[in-house]
């Protein structure tokens, strides 16, 4: 049914270009359709075991490469990573298989953030400047009914071990990743897969950003006496960002029942 619309011009706050306007419409809508109410019957989900397998590729980062030759040590624990959790209330097993995607993710990150990248078999090697060993410390997830909103959420905590070429551990840097997806957009399993991808991308964005700023990760990668560290670190000393602060702190276990948003979770790390 047609409504009535009024548009009123108000004085602009800037003489030349600025202008504001308000339109207010009162609409009376007639429903001509008698849509039946379907009372959804509860679905018995016993025996259902969703398996989340991430096989996606990740975009090439837009970043200037550090002038270093980096060795990347991919452990079997990372490249074969699976996580399984049974939700006691539902008797549903959730399984996350993200090992192959982990390798794709870190290859995507490090191939662009270092001038030269070599895969190495251990935390020491000759002819390189630094060795990085990415690892997963924890993965957690929450369903909409747990968090009482419409979001499927995934938390992943990676760590990056940074070694000197002689195998000496310089630093272990925690990297949290958080992703959430609206359950009304995709079906449950697909939403969870999408949330996992967003969590991985989130972790990637932290790693890449931290390599461009004065952070523990960058300092460890560059080495204490790196000639580049002093100059660029001084330029970026004023740069802020809660995620960067998180990288400086000591990791703590993930919350038992993560119902809070990622930013809050990360601030605790």
């Amino acid at each position: 049914m047609g409504g009535r619309a009024q548009k009123t011009s108000l004085p602009g706050h800037d003489a030349a270009a600025a202008r504001s306007y308000v339109s207010q419409t009162m609409t009376i809508t007639t429903s001509n359709k008698a849509t039946a109410i379907l009372l959804a019957a509860g679905l018995a989900l016993s025996g259902c075991s969703p398996s989340i397998e991430v096989t996606t590729t990740f975009p090439e980062p837009l970043v200037d490469a550090l002038p270093l030759t980096a060795g990347i040590y991919y452990t079997d624990a990372l490249t074969n990573y699976t996580y399984n959790e049974e939700l006691p209330m539902d008797n549903i097993d959730w399984t996350f298989s993200i090992g192959a995607a982990n390798q794709l993710l870190f290859e995507s990150i490090f191939n662009e953030t270092f001038a030269t990248v070599i895969a190495v078999d251990g935390p020491s090697a000759d002819g390189i400047d630094v060795i990085l060993e990415p690892a997963i410390q924890a993965l957690e997830f929450s369903l909409p009914r747990q968090s009482r909103n419409n979001q499927y959420a995934v938390w992943i905590r990676y760590t990056i071990n940074v070694y000197s070429p002689d195998g000496k551990l310089r630093s272990t840097v925690p990297v949290p990743g958080y992703g959430e997806v609206d359950s009304r957009r995709l079906k449950g399993k697909e939403s969870m897969r999408e949330a996992t991808v967003w969590a991985m991308r989130d972790a990637a964005s932290i790693i890449i950003e931290s390599l461009t700023k004065d952070t523990a990760l960058r300092r460890a990668v560059m080495g204490e006496n790196s000639p580049g560290e002093g100059t660029q670190a001084a330029d970026l000393a004023d740069s802020d960002g809660p995620d960067m602060e998180a990288l400086e702190s000591t990791p703590e276990p993930l919350p038992e029942n993560p119902t809070i948003v990622g930013e809050e979770f990360i601030s605790e790390s």
């Binding site: 049914m1 409504g3 602009g12 800037d14 270009a17 600025a18 202008r19 504001s20 306007y21 308000v22 339109s23 207010q24 419409t25 009162m26 609409t27 009376i28 809508t29 007639t30 429903s31 001509n32 359709k33 008698a34 849509t35 039946a36 109410i37 009372l39 990740f58 975009p59 090439e60 980062p61 837009l62 970043v63 200037d64 909103n149 419409n150 979001q151 958080y178 992703g179 959430e180 997806v181 609206d182 009304r184 957009r185 967003w198 991308r201 989130d202 990637a204 964005s205 932290i206 890449i208 950003e209 995620d243 948003v261 990622g262 930013e263």
Partner: protein
């Protein structure tokens, strides 16, 4: 009660239900506002990208609302070209992720200064970034509706109602000028009800859909205003 009497009563109830269905209304109030900071316009080959504000800032805009606005602005005579948001985020990875995306127009220069970003945006043809904020909430409700089924049939009796409030804002950033072009907002309040006299008749106020269409229309006008 004789069959002769009960049959007309059944018909009467059915007629009442159909009448309610046809003539009763769900009421909505729509308010659309715009605030313009600079002159706007969009050239041939230029497009906009529509993104929802980051969930890292607590924003809970529904994905389907953003999809709806994206669809609606591409309709009509003043339609706008929309660059896919996921493709935009991928092209600028990792600087347009939920955590790293700029939180205000003041952050635009910093974004553009990052290596390769200005070139990628220029190549994409995106002129405006439209940030969607807001959500739809059920603010109140009441009444009661009960249904029963027996050997001779079934039916529902009662009245249930609820009120939804859809409030959204779209902030428009002009990438070319590196500043905020302004914002448009849509607030729709509507009361839905389900009266039932044997047959329930849902009268749904689709506030989110109305907010989407209102916002998209204002957005088209807002951006196209300076176009020739």
């Amino acid at each position: 009660m004789s069959p002769e009497f009960s049959l007309p009563m059944t018909r009467l109830r059915a007629c009442l239900s159909v009448s309610l269905c046809l003539f009763a209304t769900a009421c909505m109030t729509t308010r659309v506002e715009g605030l313009k900071n600079t002159s706007t316009g969009i050239g041939d080959g230029q497009s906009i990208v529509i993104v929802e504000a980051s969930y890292h800032t607590g924003n809970q805009t529904e994905d389907k609302f953003v999809d709806c606005v994206t669809r609606e602005v591409q309709k009509g005579s003043a339609k706008l070209a929309v660059f896919p948001d996921q493709k935009f985020a991928d092209a600028l990875f990792p600087w347009f992720e939920p955590r790293t995306m700029p939180q205000g127009p003041n952050a635009l220069p910093e974004l553009m200064a990052k290596p390769g970003v200005a070139t990628r945006i220029r190549e994409s043809g995106v002129r405006y970034i439209v940030w969607i904020n807001g959500n739809t909430e059920r603010t109140s409700g009441g009444g009661s509706l009960s249904c029963a089924v027996g050997p001779g049939g079934g039916g529902c009796y009662g009245l249930a109602w609820w009120e939804n409030d859809s409030s959204y804002e779209a902030s428009i950033w002009d990438i070319e000028d590196g500043e905020s072009a302004g914002a448009v907002s849509a607030a729709v309040r509507g009361t839905s009800m389900i009266p039932a006299l044997v047959v329930p008749v849902p009268l749904i106020a689709r506030t989110q859909s109305a907010a989407c269409k209102g916002l998209a229309k204002e957005l088209r006008n807002f951006i196209n205003e300076g176009s020739t």
